[in-house]
């Protein structure tokens, strides 16, 4: 016989009675009041169901007429379940939750899984999706981005007509080399973005006035152009958008419930991962620019020269508190390694 102490609830009211549940070896189940031993229910044969074990939460025995016996004596209930062979495949879940080695194994495989999907899974999926999206969607996304940038930071270009025509003429052969990408060059005053260039989804490339003025040779701008074309050929802007949504989705799946914004900083790992993706994209665009410039016979050193000039111009401002640190270099992390590739 197994005796379990707990609370008894009838099937009609919220009345709570301290009781003992006795389960005899022949399957008879008897619940009696703790105070005076009066019988509350008597089942001639074992006909009760038990809830699954979950940490140390109270266990329930469900009786056929809808009554319930609630107990904290989890071990006794397990004993009864074993005695009457009422096992559920879900028991294995409790087994996993309560063994240290499974927990360590689970943690290790989770970290491995997260690392694997961040490094390979998400970028690969985003790439597949981005290249399958119809061009019209890229075009719409690009137009939206340009509208937002125009409203938020840009103002109309102040470059004179002659400069623009000269540059467009200089860029023409490069653009003609990419007939499939629907390239479109636009000029804007960069404002607080300073000397900068952007590649939007759908083929739009923006040069800021500040960038054009800083260049000492048109081939420097042409080198930047090829780098931005690299972004467009590889669909980087769209891939970044897709990766961001996938990351958000993964985060939701892992935490189960991002309850409110109480854990604002859950975003930090996402931010770190994003900047890693961003560096990856820059490297890809560099590679494209290098290959293209070499095949065309233009020296890649122009790219490095313009970068170094931006670096020098921006460095003092960077050190000053509150300086404009939102420049080309912060979105395009400048590393010696990257520049040396262009200077070789």
């Amino acid at each position: 016989m197994i005796s379990i102490t707990g609370k008894w609830y009838d099937n009609r009211t919220s009345a709570q009675i301290d009781a003992i549940c006795r389960i005899y070896d022949n399957g008879t189940v008897r619940v009696e009041r703790l105070k005076d031993g009066e019988s509350l229910v008597l089942l001639p044969r074992y006909d009760i169901k038990a809830s699954l074990r979950l940490a140390d939460t109270p266990r329930r025995l469900y009786f056929p007429a809808g009554e319930k016996f609630e107990t904290k004596d989890n071990d006794a209930v397990d004993k009864v379940m074993n005695r009457f062979k009422r096992r559920s495949w879900l028991k294995i879940v409790y087994h996993m939750e309560s063994r240290k080695r499974y927990i360590v194994l689970a943690l290790a495989s989770l970290l491995l899984f997260i690392w694997g999907s961040m490094k390979y899974g998400v970028p690969t999926a985003a790439k597949l999706i981005a290249f399958r999206l119809p061009p019209s969607i890229h075009g719409i996304a690009g137009q939206h981005s340009l509208d937002i940038l125009d409203r938020a930071v840009f103002s109309p270009s102040e470059l004179d007509e002659a400069t623009r025509t000269r540059l467009m003429e200089h860029f023409r052969p490069v653009i003609e080399d990419h007939p499939d990408n629907e390239l479109k060059i636009v000029f804007r005053r960069g404002g607080r973005l300073g000397p900068n260039a952007f590649a939007l989804p759908g083929g739009t490339i923006i040069f800021s006035d500040e960038m054009v003025r800083l260049a000492e040779h048109d081939d420097e701008l042409l080198a930047v152009l090829t780098h931005e074309i690299g972004h467009i050929v590889h669909r980087h802007a769209m891939r970044r958008a897709i990766q961001d949504s996938l990351l958000g989705f993964a985060l939701l799946a892992i935490t189960g419930d991002v309850s409110g914004s109480s854990e604002l900083f859950l975003g930090l790992p996402v931010l770190l991962t994003e900047s890693a993706y961003s560096r990856q994209f820059e490297r890809e665009a560099d590679r494209y620019a290098l290959d293209y410039l070499r095949s065309r016979g233009t020296s890649p050193i122009h790219f490095a020269r313009l970068m170094r000039r931006i670096d020098q111009k921006m460095a003092p401002k960077l050190k000053a508190p509150g300086g404009k640190w939102l420049n080309y270099l912060s979105t395009h992390p400048l590393t010696e390694e990257r520049l040396r590739n262009f200077e070789q």
Binding site: L54, D56, S109, T255
Partner: protein, 452 residues
């Protein structure tokens, strides 16, 4: 000693020939109750007025109460399973004999009442309400293990396990929440949740295919979602409520879809059109809708908050908001990167501010029969909790999440008390009715809840 005992129960209705005011006046006079208390009794769906009395006494009370205009019933108590607790209205002991309670003979009754009122402190007969704390027994490390196994199994089964994971997570939090030695129970069937999710995913796929082929029909389908939203909200609340139980009695939600459409679609649209001036009102209506349509067994919840209190809450935030904006502007002027930090701190502050104020107001204004709740969260304490949780979660790349969740819930529950008037033994279970299965299954998807 009488062998069979009875309860006299008010069935939530005033008899046909009486109006509410008359019944209230009679009740006040009969039991020397306060007006407020009499109103509460009459407004509840079911109250035990007299408990554990023998047959003849029960009949006497029955007749007297019917004459006062209340729809009452006698309920036989099956075994001698009775508590020593007296009644919800102990003042009943002093009531006059039923004969004197003639409706057509007001003068003698009034005299009698006067006499009673003069008797030594009738209020002394009323038992002081008892304070029953909510307890939470969960720990971060326990939940960490459950969380980890949930994630791994969901990944390995490509998401098929996720309904079981959800049920296990909710069962852990429910099962560790105790009131007077009884734990809450989450009873949702994972198979139903899985079916519901499959239906929703299926519909989304159909919708995206259709809108690709025939864009106009896709647009119409999108609009249709706006129309079924109120239905989904109601189903979701009903799903969560009817799968939550304590002391073997389930909660329930019985809101009307039309009303849901008003408070979740119509009013929010109007609030947007009025530039948000109506927003506190809309929020108030939503909370009222949820609370007043919720029930525990056959007993309904009531909501006593007023619109004014919700507007007051917003106004009390105005001064901190202005100070906050000044701070951001000032720090932005002197040292822009600091503005980001100040903004972040202010964001967390207002998050804590509104969580604490709205939670306290919601619980302090909710009544279950004569029992009420008391939530005493403090902004400072909650802010400290939110900040430490956020920093720790960031530093551990998210692994602290289970501890954060447990800490937050423990804090909230340890500051929640039930102020019970009388014992909690007399709630009555509702007949289980089979609700539309598809709705119940899809209800899980929105996860609307009473919210803690």
């Amino acid at each position: 000693m009488a062998d069979t005992l009875y309860n006299v129960i008010y069935r939530g209705k005033v008899l046909q020939d009486f109006d509410f005011e008359t019944a209230k006046r009679n009740l006040i006079k009969m039991f020397s109750l306060s007006e407020e208390k009499a109103e509460k009794i009459l407004q509840s769906r079911q109250v035990v007025l007299k408990k554990n009395v023998d047959e003849s006494t029960a009949k006497k009370y029955g007749i007297a109460l019917k004459k006062a205009g209340l729809d009452v019933a006698m309920e036989k108590i099956p075994t001698k399973v009775v508590s020593q607790e007296a009644t919800l209205v102990p003042a009943l002991k002093k009531v006059a004999t039923p004969k004197e309670e003639r409706k057509d003979a007001p003068p003698p009754r009034e005299k009698l009442v006067e006499k009673k009122a003069g008797a030594p402190a009738p209020a002394a007969g009323i038992k002081l309400p008892s304070r029953i704390p909510f307890e939470f027994h969960g720990t971060g490390s326990e939940y960490f293990k459950i969380w980890l196994v949930n994630i791994i199994l969901s990944i390995v089964t490509l998401g098929i396990y996720s309904p079981w994971a959800k049920v296990r997570r909710k069962q852990y939090f429910y099962g560790n929440t105790h009131v007077q030695g009884a734990g809450f129970e989450y009873l949702a069937d994972p198979v139903k949740i899985l079916k519901g999710r499959a239906i929703v995913v299926g519909l989304l796929i159909v919708q995206s295919i259709v809108s690709n082929l025939v864009p106009i029909i896709g647009g119409i389908l999108g609009l249709a979602i706006l129309f079924i939203l109120p239905w989904l909200v109601v189903r979701s609340l009903a799903f969560n409520a009817s799968n939550s139980a304590i002391r073997n009695i389930r909660f329930g939600f019985d809101g009307n879809v039309g009303e849901a459409a008003k408070v979740y679609v119509l009013w929010p649209i109007l609030a947007t059109l009025t530039l948000g001036i109506l927003f506190p009102y809309v929020y108030f209506r939503q909370k009222k809708f949820i609370v007043e349509n919720s029930s525990y067994g056959t007993t309904g919840f009531t909501f006593t908050a007023t619109v004014g209190e919700y507007y007051g809450l917003i106004f009390s935030a105005l001064i901190p908001i202005v100070i906050g904006i000044v701070f951001i502007a000032a720090s932005g002027f002197f040292f822009p990167p600091a503005a980001v930090l100040v903004g972040l701190v202010l964001y967390l502050y207002f998050f804590a501010f509104f969580s604490v104020k709205t939670t306290n107001l919601l619980y302090n204004s909710s009544r279950l029969a004569l029992h009420r709740m008391e939530s005493t969260l403090k902004i400072k304490e909650y802010l400290l909790l939110v900040v430490t949780n956020s920093v720790a979660t960031a530093l551990t790349l998210g692994l602290f999440h289970p501890w954060a969740k447990v800490r937050t819930l423990r804090y909230k529950l340890e500051h929640l008390t039930m102020v019970a008037s009388g014992d909690l033994d007399s709630f009555i279970a509702k007949e289980q009715k089979q609700v539309c299965a598809v709705g119940e299954e899809m209800g899980d998807f929105l996860d609307f809840d009473f919210g803690l």
